[in-house]
């Protein structure tokens, strides 16, 4: 099963939940199978802080940008004309490509009347695979200065799909927000967990995430993190709007301190119970066994 963990607001506990769920599941899963945690928050990946294992694979990730064969180019300007992202500028005797604006759509290459263009690799980030027993971890990090997270997210998912058996449990630690990077991260998931916190900010951003899930037609549920911090805004919203509430992780200084050090929390009794509950509720919602 593929479970994406997302949230509208940042800092609500996506990474905490992703890691601890992955660690707990990896201890319970039948030894022949894997739990695969993929950090898709490629702009600010932090799951790696919590995972200690050996690096089994490392590769540079590229996206495609056009290059020009000036022996064939007639400076006709067609490439600039068809580029909807303003990534190409044509001068009387030169053509400039702006890699940071290019979406790798291929239109310039395919529509060049002189066949003078082709695509080449352009470095955008790095992917690392770490193994700790049957917990596998894939982290990809976007280079500073790269504007687009989506191509790297796509490649990280593609790598995981190719590398691991499809009976593994996949957990996607997704980027915050509701725009393209988040959508790219959740679209292939069987189930989405939206993590929220009981504050007006948390509630407001949760509503946007719920609307996004509905638009995507995703099966999803909500986890309340830092439960007890304020009034039960999220619980009330969920029951009023018939949104499945999967579980509650209590607000505690102990949890915050463990997190700040990069330590796990799933062994704490209150958290363990909450995670058990979340898993049971996901199985209920999807009518599937998580393993």
């Amino acid at each position: 099963m593929k479970i994406a963990i997302a949230s509208g607001k940042g800092g609500t506990g996506k990474t905490t939940l992703s890691i601890n769920l992955a660690q707990m599941l990896s201890q319970q899963i039948d030894g022949s199978k894997d739990v695969v945690l993929i950090d898709l928050d490629v702009e600010e990946p932090n799951s790696g802080v919590f995972i200690h294992g050996s690096v089994v694979h490392r590769e540079t990730k590229y996206r495609q940008i056009p290059e020009i064969n000036f022996d064939k180019c007639t400076f006709c300007g067609r490439c600039k004309e068809v580029c909807n992202f303003n990534a190409i500028a044509t001068l009387p005797e030169n053509v400039l490509i702006f890699p940071e604006l290019c979406h790798s759509c291929n239109a310039c290459v395919g529509l060049c009347p002189e066949n003078a263009m082709s695509m080449k690799d352009y470095e955008m980030g790095e992917l690392v695979e770490i193994a700790h027993d049957n917990l596998k971890f894939v982290e990809s990090t976007l280079n500073i200065g790269e504007q687009q997270a989506v191509p790297l997210i796509f490649q990280a998912i593609e790598y995981s799909d190719k590398t691991f058996r499809n009976d593994s449990v996949f957990i996607y630690d997704s980027p915050p927000g509701t725009s393209c990077p988040m959508i790219e991260s959740v679209k292939g998931a069987d189930f989405v967990i939206l993590v929220s916190e009981p504050t007006p900010f948390g509630l407001h951003d949760l509503k946007l995430s719920v609307e996004t899930m509905q638009k995507l037609g995703k099966s999803f549920g909500v986890v309340i993190n830092r439960d007890g911090l304020g009034e039960d805004l999220i619980g009330e919203y969920c029951s009023e709007h018939l949104v499945p509430l999967l579980g509650r992780i209590p607000d505690s200084r102990e949890i915050a301190t463990l997190y700040s050090r990069g330590d796990s929390i799933f062994h704490l009794e209150s958290v363990y119970k909450a995670l058990k509950n979340i898993i049971a509720n996901i199985e209920n919602q999807t009518n599937r066994n998580i393993f």
Partner: protein, 289 residues
């Protein structure tokens, strides 16, 4: 007019609470822009009137006219984003996958594809409950191009700040390092990075620093929840010293942040002690620009 942008790298560090506090303390002198369009929350504290709504279109989405489609499959072959599906004998564009590149439009032999403008969101030029101007936006559900919406919000706010002859434009930026952050930081005079005393906070601070450094804009750092982990707090301070970055303020974990938020007010309105600290923070920033 000086432009100050508050970013965080990591989400949930208290960026919006701190920006709102500074906005409250300087209500006569500032126009505020909520550029965190993915999770725009400033309005929950400043209570704007959502005036002057305007739809913002950015980019395009391909639409196939079924009457003219000759089902040649060319559009689907060229689409690099897998956005064209063939279902029930018809070709459809999945608008969430379509990047609006127009390649399909150009190759369609029967002119059956139109490129329609895509709705990115809605912008507002509002008066807050403190009667100053807030420019904010709501990203359309599932919309692309949030960076362009950020630029739009910022440009509107910039123009208003000079029109109203304000001293400052205060911007609530976005988390991360991608296009929305770049859009909020570009062209500003000072960047405030709000971090927290956790390993993730430090890691994200370092990435935010790298990003801002590329723009050669001066920056300062606020450590929120500084007592969460004294060891990491020290590591952050060491990092700042090493890079010669000013530490603007440190705030210990304080329930007043959450309580103010729950009551729909800014921190200085809720807690006098914090109000003084925020005022000092502002004076410090002012001295640096």
């Amino acid at each position: 007019m000086k432009e100050i942008v508050v970013i965080s790298g990591k989400g949930g560090t208290g960026k919006t609470s701190i920006t709102a506090a500074l906005a409250y303390l300087n209500k006569e002198k500032t126009v505020v822009a909520d550029c965190d369009v993915d999770a725009a929350d400033m309005h929950l504290l400043l209570k704007p009137d959502f005036a002057n709504p305007a739809k913002f279109y950015s980019g395009h989405t391909a639409v196939i006219d079924q009457n003219n489609c000759i089902k040649c499959n060319k559009c689907r072959q060229v689409c690099a984003f897998g956005a064209i599906n063939y279902v029930g004998g018809r070709f459809f564009v999945n608008e969430l996958d379509c990047e609006g590149c127009g390649y399909c439009y150009h190759v369609c032999p029967s002119q059956a594809i139109k490129m329609e403008e895509a709705l990115s969101g809605e912008t507002y030029i509002s008066k807050t409950r403190m009667d100053n101007t807030l420019v904010h936006a709501q990203l359309a559900i599932g919309a692309d191009n949030s960076g362009k919406l950020v630029t739009k919000v910022k440009d509107l706010a910039k123009n208003l700040a000079s029109e109203e002859q304000k001293d400052y434009l205060l911007i609530d930026g976005t988390p991360g390092i991608g296009c929305p952050v770049t859009a909020s930081v570009t062209g500003s005079d000072f960047v405030v990075v709000v971090t927290e005393a956790s390993i993730s906070g430090l890691r994200d601070l370092k990435r935010a620093y790298e990003l801002v450094r590329n723009f050669s804009i001066p920056l300062g750092v606020i450590i929120n929840k500084s007592d969460l982990n004294p060891k990491v707090n020290k590591e952050i301070k060491d990092f700042l010293e090493e890079k010669n970055i000013p530490l603007l303020a440190g705030f210990e974990y304080n329930p007043a942040f959450i309580n103010a938020l729950t009551n729909g007010v800014t921190v200085p309105e809720f807690d006098t002690n914090l109000s003084h600290k925020m005022q000092n923070l502002w004076d410090d920033i002012q001295g640096r620009i």
